[in-house]
Symmetry: D2
Subunit: 281 residues, 4 copies
């Protein structure tokens, strides 16, 4: 599948400020960035870095005071691996790759150390494997209200389990935290998401099952094979599309994704039942 | 029913200390304290107070340094009101007695302001009335592990909803918080509890339904008509059998209750299904 | 001193709703409500209740669907007791009136059980008495930013101690919690406050020192002898000017207070150094 | 300086269990592991991994049921870089190495996102640089009680800021969180610590200043140039000497460190005022 993705971010810069952006899709075996273009208006020098352990692509720059516009557009070829969920097992701790172990630890917004009993209870009777993580997502979808304004930047998975309302970020945090509480490595993923209404950066998560990371979206708002991944990390604390130190305020934001190869949009309800992986295992 | 209840509390007093105890059963129309005896060794003058809004009976004294023993024994005649749960309705806010309204507010350990969605979800499909509160208790009983050491004196209902383990105090806090979140006034109750193993001060709660307070015990460890009530309050912050300011450490504690009138012990499983009220409505 | 106080509250009532309002000044020996007028448009029957333990005056009514306006105006004669702070001692636990003891307990927004070490640290070197509570207020004033939007209805004293920003309600909660942590009974007070800009219901607190409740305002935004008290309670959970169950949304709100007896407005900075009491001891 | 370090860990293995240990000192330019010996009794195959981003050395094995003893001993040559604190500046966000940026994010036990105001307040008047981090450590040392049993495995920096008591892990978490809140990258470090009484694994932290990581110990219990580092990570969630999945319970633990080269033990009070770095910048 081929996608055109992009965003346009506007800022008013009122003094010294440093920007770190993570808006470019990762370059991975199953996700090829065919072409891309970044435009800063006015132009300033940009530093680039690809984080080895995550493949996240960071941009850093210090804009001049005044208006700043960041325009990014890319064409991405995605080759998702689809599989029968029934064939994807959980992996005991002794069998996990060492690189994956940090994704078992609790993190700022995913206090898995407090959720062991709740997680076990929510999947009571469900056999281990891809289906257990799907069961967690089903519970989240059925019991947490998708509601803007009900949560904020400090809201954690434990808060969401109590208050039962939030946005995609909160849904992903709760999914990550419950997985880790079951001993399943999980990480937070930001993405351009086909079909998301209104268009925005989306937050989903990945769980390590079998021999790779598999995608899950407890909001059920996007097709898993219509996600162009940007960043991964322990949780939203590590995956922000923009981190700004200094005197700048956002003035505009638009996020876009469209399918280029003429295929129909994946039907959300239908496709989220598939096991989908796009990560570099 | 007639009970003999009592306790023996030992302390080592190392300096100036003031004690406030709430160990004497409340005197209520349905709970007559037939005879009682309090012995402090060594003797010190005792101040007494009955709190008008709760009927809680407080003792206060300043012991001399050294060993202190508090012995209390009473004979109590209990006349519980038993009713068919199906006949006991919830009361809309506009119809509640004003005196009851404070028991709708969130309190230290019962953050009902955060639990509205969770409470509604847990009773989905259950009709309003005594049965809804029983449904909450059933959920607590089935989903929270009774486990000493899993909680401490700072543990709140929101914590217990996340961590799913605690003792009678935590079970009662979660019941109180969920009731208030549904708009049902609820309060914390300490009691001598027939059949509790091992014997100890017990914590249960009351919900205001119909025209009075009805007892509930989400631990299912005591028969509701075998409870000799001591104190009521917003939560455990207000209902402590001993509040000590100063240099004293507990050295011994024994709590006793036995049935005097020859009747058989109520069967816990059987009797907790009844609606029971012993409060002064 | 004589004040005219009042408020005008507008609501859109969309369905069944019950209102409990606490907007009328308490009737106390030192605070006489000389005359008052309540107008509901459209008219509906109003129930009234004065809570014995707090003297709070509650109004309850069930408005018809449509627009609702509540207008309240009163003339109040205030006779504050002023005293030299140096003469006002703290009272050891053994000497407190029993009625005051509940105001030593932690409450929803005032987790004094967690703050003992912090409170002691903040008053290190300050002698017990009115000056210690003033020292706490000074610390709050100097270290917490008065900032709308930094806190919400769930924010507690422990949150404010960490995040260091909030509004009058948060300042009062932190003051109450720190007092209780020192063993000084404290309670939350809502009031009409002369000189508050912009005009609004104000939140301050009272601490029990010597033989009565003394007023404190850690925001330093109002003169203590220019406060016409409305409600008192353990914390904001118990003192709300409007508690609405049902389908109604606020559409307008105005709060007013002016001095009637021709005296000059108290100078805020100057007067807050005085010990002021208006409560019924 | 030359040290002999080691530990002996005993476990009772009651069923299937997988162990991940991080007890071996990191191999770094300034910290040479001259010789080491690991003995598992009974013997089982051991997998090894060095995490690229941290240099942490992990051991993993699945012991047989029964008693298990892990003995580790090593000789380590340490070449700490000592510097004058006055020469070590803070680095603005735009000038930090990209690899260091993740250590600015909040983590499970270090909620720096909530501490910006508190951190700024605690260093009011202190110029940026090594001295600001020392000022944070001084505040922690002077205001947090070192007290076993006051905290547990769920305790976070925000909790410690409220409750003001904890152990080395809590002190380090608060230091890390306050640094990040100021924009100074910081990470948690576990170490063998010369002079620690009683001997145990110690927790300290590092802040990125100038062009490298510098060590800080807010407990003031160990000399910074007497620390043989084991693991680093975002916080204690990532740096545990033993992570066990399965049925095993600890039965014994001893930790040892001694100086080999005849030099005197560093005097704790004197040496902690120096800027010390042993990390691979």
């Amino acid at each position: 599948m081929r996608f055109r993705v992009g965003c346009e971010l506007g800022y008013q810069v009122n003094g010294p400020a440093s920007f770190v952006l993570n808006i470019e899709p990762a370059r991975l075996p199953r996700q090829e960035v065919v072409r891309e273009e970044l435009t800063l208006t006015p132009e300033v020098p940009v530093q680039r870095h690809v984080m080895p352990e995550s493949a996240n692509r960071y941009l850093r720059f210090v804009p001049r005071p005044g208006e700043l516009t960041v325009r990014y557009e890319a064409e991405v070829a995605l080759d998702p691996l689809l599989a029968d969920p029934a064939t994807i097992p959980e992996v005991p701790a002794a069998g996990l790759p060492f690189e994956v172990l940090p994704h078992l630890y609790p993190s700022r917004y995913c206090q898995s150390d407090r959720l062991a009993r709740a997680a076990l209870e929510l999947v009571r009777g469900v056999p281990p494997g891809h289906a257990r993580v799907t069961a967690l997502c089903n519970w989240i979808h059925d019991n947490v209200a998708y509601l803007r304004g009900a949560s904020d930047v400090h809201t954690s998975a434990a808060d969401t389990l109590v208050e039962r309302a939030g946005v995609c970020r909160d849904f992903a945090h709760l999914g990550v935290a419950l997985c880790r509480a079951l001993g399943v490595p999980a990480r937070f993923v930001s993405a351009y998401a086909l079909g998301l209404v209104p268009p925005d950066f989306h937050a989903v998560f990945e769980a390590w099952l079998g021999d790779r990371w598999w995608l899950f979206d407890p909001t059920r708002q996007a097709a898993l094979d219509g996600l162009v991944r940007i960043g991964v990390g322990r949780d939203a604390a590590e995956v922000s599309f923009a981190t700004i130190n200094g005197a700048a305020t956002p003035t505009a934001m638009a996020v876009r994704i469209e399918r280029l190869d003429g295929g129909a949009d994946p039907a959300v309800a239908e496709r989220t039942a598939l096991a989908v992986s796009t990560a570099d295992a």
